[in-house]
């Protein structure tokens, strides 16, 4: 039986070990995915994911139970990733193991595999703000309101960033010839 987030949090605050396990199992995949996309490094993503959950449980008492839990956790993850990126920028660049960590769907055709790799690379090269919004929307399926809450920005900003992220990716795929430019039709003004 699935326990709702508010009840789960209450149990966690009482120190129930099972509840802690359920909450981690419920959200660790989202947090890890977010961390991998933002940090672009497997080991860093694992470390930050663990750190995120430590912070989540330390500040669980401050969570507003009238609001959804997931954006709150994702917001903490985004903040931790930004802090980590700030710290990492002062260190020598770490090797990027991202290609080894991602589990691609069953792809056989070279073209599809190439497209998958290219779109992955395009997402990684997005500006951090755009990438965050893009990943939250397209990978984690969060709505505009939740994303706005998680990154503490207005919904309009979220929509704008998401649109720009999509356009950047699309343009890049077009440049690489991975999507058809022939679909362009001349407009009346062209």
């Amino acid at each position: 039986m699935s326990v709702d987030d508010a009840a789960l949090v209450r149990l966690c605050l009482l120190g129930n070990p099972d509840a802690i396990g359920i909450l981690v199992a419920r959200y660790h995949s989202d947090v890890f995915g977010m961390c991998v996309r933002l940090l672009r490094h497997q080991q860093d993503a694992e470390d930050v994911t663990q750190e995120v959950f430590l912070r989540v449980f330390r500040s669980l008492e401050r969570w507003d139970s009238t609001r959804p839990l997931r954006p709150w956790i994702v917001g903490i993850a985004i903040n931790r990733c930004r802090t980590w990126l700030g710290l990492r920028s002062r260190r020598p660049e770490t090797v990027d193991f991202l290609d080894e960590t991602l589990v691609a769907p069953n792809v056989n055709a070279n073209e599809t595999r190439e497209l998958s790799a290219e779109i992955q690379s395009a997402v990684q090269d997005l500006r951090e703000d755009y990438r965050t919004v893009f990943v939250l929307f397209h990978e984690q399926g969060q709505g505009y309101e939740d994303i706005a809450r998680a990154i503490d920005r207005p919904v309009g900003t979220v929509k704008t960033w998401l649109h720009r992220a999509r356009m950047e990716i699309l343009e890049r795929l077009k440049r690489r010839g991975l999507v058809e430019e022939e679909t362009r039709r001349p407009t009346s003004g062209e």
Partner: protein, 200 residues
């Protein structure tokens, strides 16, 4: 995009809404038709975007770390709560012991003097008394015409008492002071001799 309608419809389409409105608009807006096709390609490409999967065992590691942190924070919280209690108890104990042992207790009877000191005081008192009586007797002997009464005979301690050394020391001091006391005695005797008989 220059067409605002197209802009909104594309966003709605990518958000999961039905493309009917976009398709209808695309019939009269070539730009929208082009963007519709682009969007379809982008959505198809995004479906190939592999989702990062957490490594096996990560959840267990996180749970372990969280439980450990939970225990440590509980211990720290208990320590924070207990430390003032322990300090207060220790301070209370020190205060109590200080009151009992360091403050002079006026209700307690005075500790009796040690016997040796008491005896010493008594003997010194007897010595002073005997010296006074002896001086008085000598004075009376010097001035026989002065009536001296109520002289208590000296009660000298028996020989071989522990005060013998003190007594000898006193005699030595007396003999040392004799050059001073003898002229004084002579002066007193001359004074009494010259006094008129009536005044004696």
């Amino acid at each position: 995009m220059t067409c605002r309608v197209c802009d909104e419809l594309i966003v709605a389409y990518m958000d999961g809404e039905s493309p009917d409105a976009l398709d209808a608009h695309a019939l009269i807006c070539p730009e929208s038709a082009r963007h519709r096709a682009d969007t379809d390609q982008l959505l198809a490409a995004l479906s190939l975007l592999p989702r990062p999967e957490p490594p096996v065992g990560l959840a267990q590691r996180i749970v372990h770390a969280v439980r450990k942190d939970f225990r440590q924070r509980n211990q720290a919280r208990q320590l924070r709560w207990m430390a003032p209690l322990v300090l207060t108890t220790v301070a209370g104990l020190f205060f109590t012991f200080g009151i009992v042992f360091l403050t002079p207790d006026i209700t307690r009877p005075a500790t009796p003097e040690p016997i040796a000191i008491q005896e010493g005081v008594n003997q010194a008192r007897d010595e002073v008394a005997s010296l006074t009586i002896r001086t008085a007797q000598e004075t009376a002997r010097l001035f026989p015409h002065v009536e001296v009464s109520n002289l208590v005979p000296p009660q000298m301690p028996e020989q071989g008492s522990p005060l013998q050394p003190f007594r000898e020391a006193g005699e030595i001091v007396s003999s040392g002071l004799q050059p001073l006391t003898d002229p004084a005695c002579r002066a007193m005797s001359l004074f009494f001799r010259d006094l008129p008989v009536d005044a004696r």
